[in-house]
């Protein structure tokens, strides 16, 4: 049996008549970087929200780190070690970068000093320590993305779920963010990353899960998935193009 850090079983979420997540069963292995791709509106963000407790599922279950956590409140999951970011950046605008970091609450018994030291460490790692005392409202979009990543790391998470971490970010910063993810992954953090950019996905993810119309239609490494008929169908709308990859 593999060591799964996250496992969903038939996870279902409906909005009225719309089934945004239809019996999604996914296992994420400890230590991997899992990519999630799928067309707009295919249910990727909904999956994040249902797993992390922002939505109550209409069916199915979520297991995290060997424990059933279905329906847990988001803050409890966060303290338990499941961190996430949002598709739309959400820094605490009226607070400084450092205060954003220190607002994070864990129950690991760290002292205030330890927490502050950890915040400094993370800010240095992400190379935003020089703006630690700036208010978040004045930061660039890219810096805000870095800050979000930094805040999540304050949880000392086992698993981090990132919803389009490089969206709207310039290519240089995008590379930096990807490097950070790799580095953190090397140190043992598991990642689940939603990303539209196939180039990024190809180099980042160990394996990829594909969503379409609320269903989980394929899974495998990038090459496997891009050869998959159902995936080509979802992306190309049923054309029988001879290319051996989904459009990049």
């Amino acid at each position: 049996m593999t060591d799964d850090i996250l496992r969903t079983t038939d996870l279902t979420k409906r909005f009225g008549a719309l089934t945004a997540n239809d019996e999604i069963s996914i296992s994420v292995e400890r230590g991997e970087i899992r990519g999630i791709i799928g067309p707009n509106g295919s249910g990727k963000t909904t999956f994040f929200n249902t797993v992390t407790g922002f939505y109550q599922p209409d069916g199915g279950s979520v297991h995290f780190d060997g424990e059933e956590v279905t329906g847990w409140e988001p803050y409890r999951l966060a303290r338990r070690g499941l961190g996430r970011t949002f598709q739309i950046v959400s820094p605490f605008k009226n607070m400084t970068v450092r205060q954003n970091m220190l607002a994070v609450q864990t129950d690991d018994g760290r002292s205030r000093e330890e927490k502050r030291d950890r915040a400094e460490e993370i800010l240095e790692f992400l190379e935003i320590d020089h703006i630690a005392d700036n208010e978040a409202r004045g930061m660039s979009g890219g810096q805000q993305k870095l800050l979000e990543l930094g805040r999540v790391l304050m949880l000392d998470p086992e698993l981090v779920m990132l919803d389009e971490p490089a969206a709207g970010v310039n290519p240089a910063l995008e590379l930096r963010i990807m490097d950070h993810i790799h580095e953190l992954n090397d140190e043992g953090t598991t990642f689940v990353v939603i990303e539209h950019d196939m180039h990024v996905m190809k180099t980042l993810a160990d394996s990829v899960s594909v969503f379409d119309s609320g269903s989980h239609i394929a899974q495998g490494d990038f090459e496997e998935v891009s050869q998959d008929d159902a995936v080509r169908e979802a992306y190309l709308g049923g054309t029988t193009a001879e290319d051996d990859e989904v459009p990049i």
Partner: protein, 343 residues
């Protein structure tokens, strides 16, 4: 590496002797200027404290509580009922004010803090209105007759005290409560990580929740705390004015004043409610004393609020700190012009 956590609302640190001078003035005030100015002083201290109590939930947490005045009235009636109906000393009434306001605030917090924005404002306003109506028809609160509180020397702690329960006494009572409120606000909201959590949930509740903050619990804590502070001032006020009536201590204007003071001074700052509270209270009181008018200050306040919202959303404190941004002002004026088809 880990210096002190910088605070958003730093007290101006230097010069120290400025604080010493202020302390001396505050302590000597009623002795220097007599009963009339002691009354002005204690009123100012009470309103600064009340404005700060509203600022906790309305400013720091961003929940516009339009029923906050109810807790001032609840505190006033708790003291009045304990003293007038049961013959207990003030200290018991004071304790009762804390107890009752804690319980009521918690019961109100559970359903209403699920609401946000205008819905929360309307729900709390309706709650305050219903408390007032209840006090008007309930026997124990004196109904439409109100209640009169005794003020003899033994009514403070049960045995006679060797000083007069009059203006000077109430001035010092309000001074202690006001300073305690400021110290508590400074510690909890500006120094302690609790304050970061409160500001975090104000700025983005979902993000706060995703970062381990139990937002439901933190909101309730802020709400209950802010309500208890208002009730404590209410209980002292009741004893000071000797007679409480629902139409006075439960009047909507009490909430309105707190909101105006905090808004004018600067929401979510320690010093804002001090500046706003002082300004509004003095305008109101001095215009009624010296100009014989009690309504003159109202249009003035109205204009001040419009100017604040348009030109200095961070209030008087923002202006003093030079935070007013010309571009923001231009944007606000433009938006207003567009709204009313002026430009």
């Amino acid at each position: 590496m880990s210096g002190p956590v910088p605070s958003l609302d730093r007290l101006p640190g230097e010069p120290r002797y400025w604080y010493a001078g202020l302390a001396v003035l505050l302590v000597a005030w009623p002795l220097l200027f007599g009963a009339f100015w002691a009354r002005i002083g204690l009123g100012a201290l009470m309103w600064i404290g009340l404005a700060q109590s509203w600022n906790m939930i309305g400013g720091y947490a961003g929940y516009l509580d339009f029923g906050h005045g109810a807790y001032f009235g609840i505190g006033a009636f708790a003291a009045a009922v304990a003293m007038a109906q049961f013959g207990y000393p003030f200290l018991v009434g004071f304790g009762l004010a804390i107890l009752v306001s804690t319980v009521v605030a918690y019961l109100v917090a559970v359903p209403t803090l699920r609401l946000t924005g205008a819905y929360f404002a309307i729900a709390t306003w309706a709650f305050a209105e219903s408390i007032k109506q209840a006090a008007l028809v309930t026997g124990i609160t004196g109904g439409t007759f109100g209640l009169s509180l005794p003020r003899s020397p033994e009514t403070f702690i049960g045995v006679p005290v060797p000083f007069e329960i009059a203006e000077t006494f109430f001035y010092y009572a309000m001074l202690v409560l006001c300073l305690a409120t400021m110290a508590l606000t400074y510690y909890l909201f500006e120094r302690h990580e609790f304050g970061y959590r409160v500001k975090a949930l104000r700025d983005d509740q979902d993000a706060a929740e995703s970062l381990g903050i139990d937002t439901t619990r933190v909101k309730r804590q802020v709400y209950v705390l802010s309500c208890v502070v208002a009730a404590v001032f209410g209980s002292v006020h009741a004893w000071y004015i000797v007679y409480v009536h629902p139409n006075d201590v439960l009047a909507p204007i009490i909430t309105d004043r707190m909101v105006i003071m905090a808004l004018l001074g600067g929401l979510g700052t320690l010093t804002g409610p001090i500046a706003g509270g002082l300004l509004v209270f003095l305008l109101e009181r001095l215009s009624s004393v010296f100009l014989g008018s009690t309504t003159f200050y109202l249009p003035l306040i109205g204009i001040l609020i419009m100017v604040t919202v348009l030109f200095a959303p961070s209030g008087i404190i923002g202006i003093l700190r030079g935070e007013v941004d010309r571009d923001d002002v231009r944007k606000n004026v433009k938006e207003l012009g567009e709204k009313f088809d002026l430009l």
